[in-house]
Amino acid sequence: MLAPVPDSRARVDAFVELQNVTHTYGRGDKEVRALDATDLRIEKGDFIALVGPSGCGKSTILKLVTGLINASSGCVFVAGREVTAEPVRVGMAFQNPTLLPWLTLRDNVMLPLKIVAPFRQEYRAKRRSEFRDRVDALLVQVGLAGFADKHPWQLSGGMMQRASLCRALVHEPQLLMLDEPFGALDQFTREELWGIMQDLWMTRRPTVLLVTHDLKEAAYLANRICVMQARPGRIIQESAVDFSRPRTIALSYDPDFVTLTQRLRELIMRPAKETVQ
């Protein structure tokens, strides 16, 4: 295990850094240790996938980095600062689309521009011109041309999820958090959205942290895959994924790709005690 690096220069090149972070839910008898002494470093502009069985603390890491919850112990740094103090723009997409039902798709996607600095200062002036064009362009990019004025309930699950991705990206976040955003979709929509996600990442280069159950998805999208283990949740292995980009669905039938996903699968399926050094 890496020793904590307290010296501040080391933190500058890591955009996101977890130092010896633990997290427990509940108290007393009901206490559950979701995350056990975890270290993780993510470079700026990198694409990391967290895979592992249910309850291994994948989503907990995401929530810690976003600041939705606070670590029980240890430190979380984003852009060299403590997570709650960071001035970094964060985009987040969840497993459910979580669109606001009273807004049209356009207004839903525009929501971050209304909230996040520096856009919120210009929101009133630009929401009918520049921001509107930006949202519409993004909707076109994910295949939702002509749906901007629809309400969420008029759309299919896949379409809502596309809009949810747009909302996570519209304010050009430096940090993009994806919590199983493709999990509830059918195979074809999922593969199409992988392609779209890869395009968006290659053109905008946010730092991405993707939580997923799908090993193919992780190997298709990520530069690096962190395999996690449950009870207590911790990262047991990190693998680099070196396939050239842009990757295609055809790649997923490549022997190297299949070998990688099989190896990950064996790591996750293996009983916990064997993996402890």
Partner: protein
């Protein structure tokens, strides 16, 4: 004929039928107008005495609307406070239920004691009668907001106020408007109760005086005025509700319009 038009036609026919049946039954059994006047007599009375009734109707409407407006302000404020957290909701709810189960007629004498007879007790009675449905609905709407929707905002580092303005309040609008329709009719009840007990103006007072002089058609004319005012306000708020919270009913006409 489309189903909606048929439904409207049927309810109009029911209303007209009710009054026709009333008229016919009174005629058939020879019921005296001191017991139950016929609708035609009520309308005639209303026409003849309109100059005398009109100021009272205006007074009642004015009192009700002021009480209602105050009730909305206080109700939304209290509702937002109670609904702001699970803890506040659980702590405040029993007290709220306690207050709302007090018969409001019983507090009119207290208001009269404090403020004297007249408009003020009527306004206050209207206010406290319409406050509880609003508080309970706003608080419930806020307290049941999906945490996932709040997480979307929290991930954007939104302030509590931003979350309230962009998620909490819009999410609560259907609850709020549902409560307004109840509250506005309740406000009328409050005003009329207070006017019958302690006032020298308003429809409530008019009906008290009319009944003590056995002017039964005038009593019923007062009732008719109250019904018309109540229905009118209900319709207005239903209309606003449909415009503002159409998303919650998920009708295609709304979405396309």
């Amino acid at each position: 004929m489309n189903p909606q038009l048929r439904r409207r036609f049927a309810s109009a026919a029911l209303i007209v039928g009710f009054f026709v049946a009333w008229e016919l039954l009174c005629l058939a059994f020879g019921i005296k107008d001191i017991v139950l006047p016929r609708p035609s007599q009520i309308v005639v009375t209303l026409g003849q005495r309109m100059p005398a009734i009109w100021p009272h109707a205006l007074q009642t409407l004015y009192t009700t609307l002021i009480g209602f407006a105050l009730g909305i302000v206080a109700g939304v404020f209290l509702g937002a406070l109670v609904g702001s957290s699970k803890l506040a909701y659980d702590v405040a709810y029993p007290l709220l239920v306690g207050f709302s189960s007090i018969p409001k007629v019983a507090v009119v004498p207290i208001f009269v004691l404090w403020f004297g007879a007249g408009t003020i007790p009527a306004v206050l009675t209207a206010m406290i009668l319409c406050i509880f449905p609003i508080v309970v609905n706003v608080a419930t709407g806020l307290a049941t907001t999906e945490p996932e929707l709040e997480d979307v905002m929290r991930a954007l580092k939104a302030s509590k106020l931003d979350i309230l303005a962009n998620v909490g309040l819009p999410r609560t609008m259907p609850y709020f408007f549902a409560s307004l329709k109840v509250a506005v009719t309740q406000a009328f009840v409050g005003t009329v109760i207070a006017e019958t007990v302690a006032s020298n103006r308003g429809i409530g007072n008019l009906m008290m005086i009319a009944s003590s002089s056995f002017d039964v058609p005038l009593v019923f004319a007062g009732l008719l005025i109250l019904a018309v005012l109540g229905v009118a306000l209900y319709v207005i708020f239903s209309f606003i509700e449909a415009r503002v919270t159409g998303w919650a009913h998920r009708k295609d006409e709304f979405a396309m319009g």
